[in-house]
């Protein structure tokens, strides 16, 4: 494995005695797109939260470029180069769109001028330039999603974790998002981990898939192989379909 990867090794997480993640190991390499899929409640978001330091680990370790980042506070992990989006969009509602995006750049030590320039380019890239001075809270759902991704990118992360970026988007918006996301890893030299329920989006976008069910890894590998994996079919469609 390349030493510049993001590695989560043997991760276990418990919520009041209930095991939400059980011994999950996941690696994301630079410039790679990994899809994290699984039924509701399988622990996908918890895994992202575990990597970004938002939930404590019972067991396991997280490392970035061979450096241990296990149980650092979220802001420190962010500064190490891991950006994320949230399942339910979390914008700064009373800040303007451009201020939302600037925040990540500023937190990483950019000057006001640099942050402004970077944010303007990102707004352009995401087709949001005419929204720059709107308040975050006043945007449509699809625009909020895009601002959140642009904000995450303003940190120039080496790894980007997106939690259901296409949720609530219509087909046209999803296609546009797919187009944008597919170019990001190579253009920006970052590794992308993406959670989504839209299987066609995931299949078209991802190089590798990682499948969780009830907090355990049930399959991991190339997208084509995963599609035919009986364990995955069973987890998604129930036992009947698997034997049919």
């Amino acid at each position: 494995m390349a030493s510049s990867s993001l590695k989560a090794v043997n991760i276990s997480v418990e919520f009041s005695g209930l095991r939400a993640l059980d011994d999950v190991t996941l690696t994301v390499d630079p410039e790679e797109i990994v899809g994290l899929i699984g039924p509701n409640g399988s622990g996908k978001t918890t895994l992202v939260n575990a990597i970004t330091g938002e939930v404590p680990l019972v067991h396991g370790s997280v490392s970035l470029r061979e450096e241990a980042i296990t149980s650092l506070p979220p802001w420190k992990i962010a500064l190490k180069g891991i950006s994320r989006s949230f399942q339910i969009v979390r914008l700064f509602n009373n800040l303007t769109v451009i201020e939302n995006i600037e925040s990540a750049s500023l937190a990483h030590g950019d000057s006001l001028r640099v942050a402004r320039g970077k944010s303007e380019r990102l707004l352009d890239e995401f087709g949001l330039s005419n929204r720059a001075e709107e308040l975050g809270g006043a945007l449509s759902y699809g625009d909020k999603r895009r601002v959140e991704i642009a904000r995450a990118l303003a940190a120039d992360p080496s790894f980007l974790l997106l939690d259901e970026p296409a949720a609530g988007m219509n087909e046209a918006e999803t296609d546009a998002l797919l187009h944008t996301l597919s170019r990001i890893p190579r253009d920006r030299k970052l590794g992308l981990l993406i959670i989504d329920h839209d299987m066609s989006l995931i299949m078209r976008l991802c190089h590798r898939l990682h499948v969780l069910a009830s907090g355990r890894t049930i399959a991991a590998g190339k997208a084509d192989e995963i599609r035919r994996d009986p364990a995955v079919i069973e987890a998604y469609l129930g036992a009947k379909a698997a034997h049919a």
Partner: protein, 342 residues
């Protein structure tokens, strides 16, 4: 940037206008009102720096006003008078006598230093816990002021503070506070702090070290609150610790909340409105008492009306009169062509 300048010129112009008008009229009362207005502006803008940007309600600030007032008094009361005003004063302070202007600046620094030390462990708290601890801090500061007789003359009134604050000085400091509050809001710390106000988790996820950001704002707020307190001390010239407690806290908070804590515009407009209301209500109270409308004297009308106004604003317009955008940005959006870069 242009919008912030516009905001500054409108609000600064408003302050200057009030001051000039008070001088043109030439009535002593108006001079006093204008000076009080400018001192309140300094206090409210100080509070806005912390509360507006961090989103955390702080009760503690009037405590720092007290620190500023007492610090400046100790540094300026003439040596001869100190023997009478503060019989138990520590010897090393007895011979200190600075110019009030220097003392006012130093007092701000003293308040900021105390704030830096006592607030550091509190800045990781949010929501109700943060509000309650700020109230506890006010109680601690008040208790210390009431009982540290050597420095404050205890609960008794401290006399002999030289008169140094006039309307010009107060206006100058208020304008300085205005520039600082606007600049802080647009600074890196200010922007990240406002991000954390809107969503703590998302702010941490972009890399904001929230307790550190809050701490900086708290110190800056205490600096201005301390200076405001010192200005007030040199205006009123005698005071006791009671001046720096709940009544003043409520007054300053109502100014900020009615105007809108999130914006500097709100802080300034709220101060104007509440000051105007406060002075006219006091006038009405006085008239009613003179006219002997009721057999009992009318007391507390001012406080009750202000409290009701605060409730009404919170119910009808929770963010205050200027909840999100500064006046400059509002005008630019309304009349100007869309400006691309702030």
């Amino acid at each position: 940037m242009k919008r912030n300048l516009l905001t500054f010129f409108i609000l600064g112009g408003l302050i200057l206008l009030a001051v000039v008008a008070s001088q043109v009229v030439g009535i002593r009362l108006y001079d006093r009102v204008a000076t009080n207005l400018c001192i309140s502006l300094t206090l409210v803008l100080g509070l806005q720096v912390f509360m507006g940007n961090s989103g955390i309600l702080s009760f503690a600030h009037i405590g720092f006003m007290g620190i500023g007032a007492y610090a400046s008094a100790l540094l300026t009361i003439p040596t001869m008078m100190k023997g009478m005003a503060l019989p138990d004063l520590y010897p090393f302070l007895k011979d200190v006598q600075l110019s009030p202007y220097i003392a006012i600046a130093v007092s701000g620094l003293v308040a900021a230093l105390v704030a830096a030390i006592v607030s550091y462990p509190l800045m990781r708290l949010s929501d109700a816990a943060a509000v309650i601890t700020s109230f506890a801090l006010l109680v601690v500061l008040h208790t210390v002021m009431t009982h540290w007789s050597a420095l404050t003359n205890g609960p008794r009134t401290l006399f002999g503070v030289p008169k140094a604050t006039d309307v010009k000085l107060a206006a100058l400091v208020a304008l300085l506070a205005l520039v600082t509050a606007l600049a802080f809001k647009e600074s890196r710390t200010g922007k990240l702090l406002r991000a954390s106000r809107d969503d703590e988790r998302a702010a941490a996820a972009v890399g904001a070290r929230i307790p550190q950001l809050r701490w900086r704002a708290f110190i800056l707020a205490a600096l201005f609150t301390g200076i405001g307190g010192a200005l007030w001390g040199h205006f009123i010239t005698s005071f006791s610790p009671r001046a720096f407690y709940l009544k003043e806290t409520f007054l300053i908070l109502s100014m900020l909340v009615i105007g809108g804590a999130n914006t500097v515009t709100g802080a300034v407009i709220g101060t104007f409105i509440v000051t105007a209301a406060y002075e006219s209500l006091r006038g009405i109270e006085g008239l009613l008492n003179e006219a002997k409308v009721s057999s009992q004297p009318v007391i507390g009308l001012t406080e009750i009306v202000l409290a009701l106004a605060m409730m009404a604003i919170l119910v009808l317009r929770p963010g205050g009169l200027f909840p999100t955008r500064e006046i400059g940005a509002l005008l630019a959006r309304r009349f100007g062509r869309p400006e691309k870069s702030g």
